[in-house]
């Protein structure tokens, strides 16, 4: 039986107006087609300004494609209901600084339209799992970046998402934080959840993902299973992904 398609993008392009009159256009995504099946852990890599964040924004209905179409859990991307099955970790984890950790999670759960009765237990469980259970009532203005990122992980997991989208989640995390993050990703993957991980840390993608998609200049230049890449790399050594991607990245620089 073919695994269910979690999301698919079909010839999606996105351009942004540039200049005062907006006549010039900056192409962020150019004819991108991508499909993710249930249970996959996809590493989305690429240099800066490759279009990774734009792709995620389109996937999460934070931006609309200029052309092309897409679906999330079989429904058009504009249908917000399916976002209830998605968790999102943002790179900056900029939560309202006047709230405490418990309130941030309650707010996130309320916006996820979770059943009110289920929320307190879920919040307590997640605070425990990300190691913030001893500071639930402290204002997050006193939190370090790493702690905020842990809180970001917890809010993404509130609704037990079938698709976990993570945009640079390891930024600001210390060694313990990274270990926690990797365990969470592995756990989600083992449970058959789909993970879309955007990262500049190629070693992280190597170890956690089973498929790599590389975006360069708004185009997908590589989309292969990790096992296949390992085979073609024929070395199976650590950090092989860097070598695989090097030609694409170099092309951007020149």
């Amino acid at each position: 039986m073919t695994p269910a398609v979690v999301f698919e993008l079909e010839r999606v392009s996105k351009t942004y107006p540039q200049g005062i009159l907006g006549r010039r256009r900056l192409t962020a995504l150019d004819n991108v087609s991508l499909r993710a099946q249930a249970g996959e852990a996809i590493g989305l890599v690429g240099p800066n300004r490759a279009g990774k964040s734009t792709l995620i924004k389109i996937l999460l209905a934070l931006a609309a494609p200029t052309s092309g179409s897409g679906k999330r859990f079989g429904k058009p991307l504009s249908k917000r209901q399916t976002l209830a099955r998605v968790g999102y970790v943002h790179e900056s984890a900029a939560f309202p600084r006047y709230l405490n950790a418990r309130e941030v999670l309650h707010l996130g759960a309320a916006f996820s339209l979770m059943q009110p009765a289920d929320i307190p237990a879920r919040v307590a469980q997640l605070l425990e799992s990300v190691g913030l259970h001893d500071r639930p009532s402290e204002p997050i203005s006193t939190f370090s970046k790493g702690m905020l990122q842990r809180l970001g992980l917890a809010q993404a997991l509130l609704n037990d998402p079938e698709l976990l989208v993570m945009d640079e989640p390891a930024e600001s995390l210390d060694a313990n934080g990274r270990h926690l993050l990797h365990s969470l990703i592995r756990e989600q993957h083992q449970r058959g959840r789909t993970v879309l991980l955007v990262s500049h840390h190629l070693e992280e993608v190597e170890t956690l993902c089973d498929r790599v998609v590389a975006l360069v200049g708004g185009r997908i230049v590589l989309d292969q299973p990790m096992t296949e890449l390992r085979r073609t790399a024929a070395k199976q050594k650590p950090r092989f992904l860097r070598e695989v991607l090097q030609p694409f990245y170099s092309a951007v620089r020149t």
Partner: protein, 328 residues
């Protein structure tokens, strides 16, 4: 979206707004300013013989001439717990009415409104900053719910602050002087309405610009425009009567003034309604233009409030539509 989840989302949006407001210094400034006004009211007392005159005619003798010595033993109005004492040449009731008008019209109606606009102008732009908004906008809650929840949260806060001010000052004046004018409390809904119609425009600006300064100055400018249009319409209606020696206004000008009046919110009408509620016309002179439209049946309070509310609803609807398609 099921009902319990929707109610919970609104509850948390309102709670988020309350926490956001408490984190703002202006909240504490408003609270302290309101507290000082309440203390001021508790510091007032009326002493001595109070003349129970009903109007200024009492100052004149039977021959119509001004009495040179209208009252040999006037009462005393004491302020600041007796630190300031002044002779009372009005009845106690009208003196308290004057103070209530001062508090309702100027302290709350103008100062309070301005502070509330400064206080709340940044709430929505801050909420909609891409770094923080993307996390919450990637949730399934409809965007219009976020907007209306935030608006309702702000309105609830301003209602609470207005209630604190009006109840406190009313209680202070009542306890200290024995004059209880319940209609003074109508200032609460009138102030909230005055704020809501201006804040509705601020919400629209927030979805368009996501900038606090734009929201603040835009909404103040909008309020001034509405007040000017409101007053201008009444002035145009009263022109030929109040300015008989001046040429009449062109019909096209009158038409435009009427259109602008009915299209925009009407903050000046809310001032008239507060004046009416306090019964100020019994003891004090009114703005001639306002008096004219009231006496000549050209003021429709219910329609005025309804159209102001409709404008606010339209602003929120346009803002929600704008937010629905906004990209982050």
């Amino acid at each position: 979206m099921n009902a319990p989840a929707a109610v919970n989302a609104f509850r948390w949006l309102i709670w988020d707004t309350i926490r956001q407001s408490i984190a703002s210094r202006i909240f504490w400034v408003m609270l302290v300013a309101s507290g000082l006004c309440i203390v001021f009211c508790f510091s007032i007392s009326l002493e001595g013989a109070l003349r129970e005159r009903t109007d200024e005619v009492g100052l004149y003798g039977a021959d119509g001439k001004l009495l040179t010595d209208p009252d040999r033993n006037p009462g005393v109005l004491s302020l600041a717990f007796g630190a300031i004492r002044m002779p009372l040449y009005r009845t106690g009731a009208s003196e308290i009415q004057f103070l209530e008008a001062l508090l309702g019209r100027w302290v709350a109606g103008l100062g309070g409104l301005l502070l509330a606009l400064i206080w709340t102008a940044g709430f929505l732009p801050e909420f909609l900053q891409p770094a923080s908004a993307t996390i919450f906008l990637a949730k399934p809650i409809p965007r219009w719910c976020l907007l209306t929840g935030k608006f309702l949260g702000v309105a609830a806060l301003v209602t609470a602050m207005a209630s604190f001010f009006f109840f406190g000052t009313w209680l202070g004046l009542g306890i200290r002087t024995g004059f209880w004018q319940a209609s003074y409390l109508l200032g609460i809904p009138l102030l909230v309405l005055n704020f809501a119609i201006t804040y509705g425009f601020s919400v629209l600006l927030a979805t368009w610009s996501r900038n606090t300064i734009t929201c603040l100055f835009g909404s103040i400018l909008f309020w001034l425009t509405c007040f000017g249009m409101n007053y201008g319409r009444h002035a145009a209606a009263a022109w030929s009567t109040l300015m008989p020696d001046k040429p009449g206004l062109p019909a096209s000008f009158r038409f435009l003034a009427e259109c602008g009046y009915w299209l925009l919110p009407k903050p000046a009408d809310l001032v008239m309604l507060l004046d009416d509620a306090l019964g100020l016309s019994e003891n004090f002179g009114q703005i001639k233009e306002f008096e004219f439209v009231q006496q000549h049946g050209q003021f429709y309070p219910e329609l005025s409030i309804l159209t102001s509310l409709l404008f606010t609803v339209a602003m929120i609807a346009i803002a929600a539509r704008r937010l629905r398609t906004a990209e982050f």
